[in-house]
């Protein structure tokens, strides 16, 4: 039963309307561009998207946004796509803004089976409104909850046939965290190698987390996103 799937649309068949979907990447860097494009072609709506950004205007998740398929965005920096602001003004999308470190940590907590954690980040700011505050050993913290999702769409550099992953430079970012925090995890990669070709010391995401592997058809280059 191979995890490798050549049909992108079929790989995404597990995503239903109303699902919460984690999408890797920091802007377009390390974003699963092939899977995002595939998602824009599927008939699903009311999605909650957890991603640092909602793409750029008309790019990446920005397309999905403009298709009105996103009910809610959870991220740290929506500023990178001005369309998000317009949609928000018009009441067409809900947004939950988290500090970037909190977004990352909540995903890790979700993957690790934790309920939540106390962080100093955000204490005393508007982003702490409605969150429980408590002192531990004299330091004030706020409670942040773990994030878990139905599906994660991530990007890695190489996968072996089992699903072990290694990443490429700063395209790593949120991807290894999201790999742990969803019921179903789909990864797109530049290259698929045989099991045994990745050094066990260097595997960043063990195969235990990966359900489906697809080959990237959209790649970020110096000249922008190109099809390969």
């Amino acid at each position: 039963m191979s995890k490798i799937q050549h049909d992108i649309s079929q790989a995404l068949d597990c995503i239903k309307s109303g699902d919460t979907v984690l999408v890797g990447g920091f802007g377009l860097i390390g974003a699963p561009l092939t899977l995002i494009e595939g998602l824009t072609e599927r008939d699903v709506t009311d999605l909650t998207i957890v991603s640092n950004n909602l793409g750029e205007s008309g790019k990446g998740l920005g397309i999905l946004l403009n298709q009105n398929k996103i009910k809610k965005g959870i991220g740290s920096y929506f500023t990178s796509n001005r369309d998000v602001g317009d949609k928000y003004q018009n009441g067409e999308i809900e947004l939950e803004l988290l500090p970037q470190g909190t977004l990352a940590e909540s995903l890790r907590a979700g993957g690790a089976g934790l309920g939540g954690y106390y962080t100093t980040t955000g204490v005393g700011t508007d982003l702490a409104i409605g969150k429980e505050e408590r002192e531990i050993d004299g330091i004030p913290y706020i409670l942040e909850k773990a994030i878990r999702a139905d599906v994660a769409l991530i990007r890695a550099h190489k996968a072996d046939t089992l699903g072990n992953l290694v990443y490429y430079k700063t395209a790593r970012n949120f991807n290894p965290l999201m790999a742990t925090a969803a019921k179903i995890v789909i990864v797109e990669v530049d290259e698929i190698v045989e099991a045994g070709e990745l050094d066990p010391e260097e595997v960043v995401t063990p195969f235990i987390y990966i359900d489906t592997i697809v080959k990237a058809q959209q790649v970020l280059t110096k000249e922008g996103v190109v099809a390969v």
Partner: protein, 213 residues
């Protein structure tokens, strides 16, 4: 200011002044804007740059070596230093929040007279982005702020109280503008340096916040 500087000259002047405060060995995180320019003026060997999107050991990069998947937090292309390492976002913010980064250099919209800053939201506009600012403010051992001394309308950005939402209750350590350098001592601003061409009168006039000289 008697000599009128271009915006770019002002920004580079601030960046150059900040660089004087950095002595190695230290780990520095540079925010977007003026802070990014600081790297151009660092002279010490043993300063390593951290970027929260997952790299310790940021360097600049030649045009021909640009790699679209190797960027800083401002999504600008960077290079990697000898001894660099890559890590995921939670490990990167663990470094920041856990107090392992020595200095964070950030931009600000406002600073109050106790050294508390506002740099992520403007009332009446949509709150659309915060990024790593709140994490850096609670976590970095020292926080330096760079900004223009006044807004476009000429009003002071060093205020008695911030009117924009604050980024953290933590007081920053130093503030750098095109006119002056302040230290924050026990919640009070102290003027420690005038920038080239600036006078004490001009600083007094353009600073709403109380400060000692």
């Amino acid at each position: 200011m008697t000599v009128q500087l271009s915006k770019s000259e002002m920004q580079h002047g601030i960046a150059k002044r900040v660089a004087l405060e950095l002595a190695g060995p230290c780990i520095v995180n540079l925010g977007i804007g003026i802070p990014t320019l600081v790297a151009e003026y660092m002279t010490e060997d043993n300063i390593y740059l951290h970027t929260e999107n997952g790299l310790l050991g940021v360097t600049d990069v030649a045009d021909e070596a640009i790699d679209p998947n190797l960027v800083n937090a401002g999504k600008l292309p960077v290079g990697e230093a000898v001894g660099a390492s890559f890590f995921n976002s939670s490990d990167s913010f663990a470094m920041i929040r856990g107090g392992h980064v020595d200095v964070a250099i950030l931009g600000a919209l406002q600073v109050d007279e106790t050294g508390v800053i506002a740099n992520w939201a403007v009332p009446g506009k949509n709150i659309m982005g915060v990024g790593g600012a709140m994490d850096l403010l609670v976590g970095a051992k020292k926080v330096f702020v760079t900004m223009s001394h006044t807004s476009k309308d000429g009003s002071s950005k060093l205020l008695k109280e911030c009117t924009y939402p604050i980024t953290s209750t933590r007081q920053v350590d130093m503030i750098f503008t095109e006119l002056a350098v302040f230290k924050v001592n026990a919640g009070q601003l102290e003027l420690v340096d005038l920038m080239p061409g600036a006078t004490i009168e001009e600083v007094r006039e353009k600073t709403e916040a109380a400060f000692t000289e």
